[in-house]
Symmetry: C2
């Protein structure tokens, strides 16, 4: 629990790995919530995702999301703050993340995605 987790560099981010990461419903929900939160605080911590699964299972999915370059973790006290690596992803695969998020938003009910923030806005 001590070390700052390793993240791939922008150039090391791979398309198949990213798609595989996004193909898991829990990880897609995590990314979706992180994206929604971007406009507010841009960061969320583990306990913000308890609705999705248990702590240890979340830690497993966080690790996958970090390893593939989708998100970044910042350690602060006993908390880990996560945020999307949007700049890197947009630079590496322009339009991909937005297309996935938009598709996910369309299927929000089907995918059982929950809005973390209650703010509703037009698209």
């Amino acid at each position: 629990m001590s070390r700052t987790p390793l993240h791939p560099t922008r150039e090391q981010i791979e398309l198949p790995t990213v798609l595989d990461c996004l193909s898991d419903p829990i990880r897609l929900a995590i990314v979706y919530q992180l994206a929604r939160q971007e406009r507010v605080s841009s960061e969320l911590c583990c306990s913000d995702f308890y609705a999705l699964s248990g702590k240890s299972n979340l830690a497993y999915h966080f690790a996958k999301l970090r390893e593939c370059g989708l998100m970044q973790t910042r350690v602060a006290g006993t908390n880990r703050f996560m945020r999307l690596r949007r700049e890197d992803l947009d630079a590496r695969f322009p339009g991909l993340l937005d297309a996935v998020l938009k598709s996910a938003a369309r299927d929000a009910e089907r995918l059982e995605l929950i809005d973390t923030c209650d703010v509703v806005e037009a698209d």
Copy 2:
């Protein structure tokens, strides 16, 4: 070998399944080649993909691609002609397929993607 394979309806196409299908390098290469071929004949058959893997492994991946709704198979004699279900995918997840294909094209060498047709065009 007799029946025309089953495909999901447009509405049955699911985002996680599609992403999972595209996350496999061989299937991504198949989809990429189908997309490149779209401008020419729009259809390819199994033997056009022998460079990617063996017949039986290809049949396995074709089945996955059909089941998730990414491609469609038409039986004609001893051949099966495959094409992308672009209209359905674009209707269901606008921009997604193009974003993936564009990202794949950028990483063509890294992903060892081969141009089926020798036609080179600007983007």
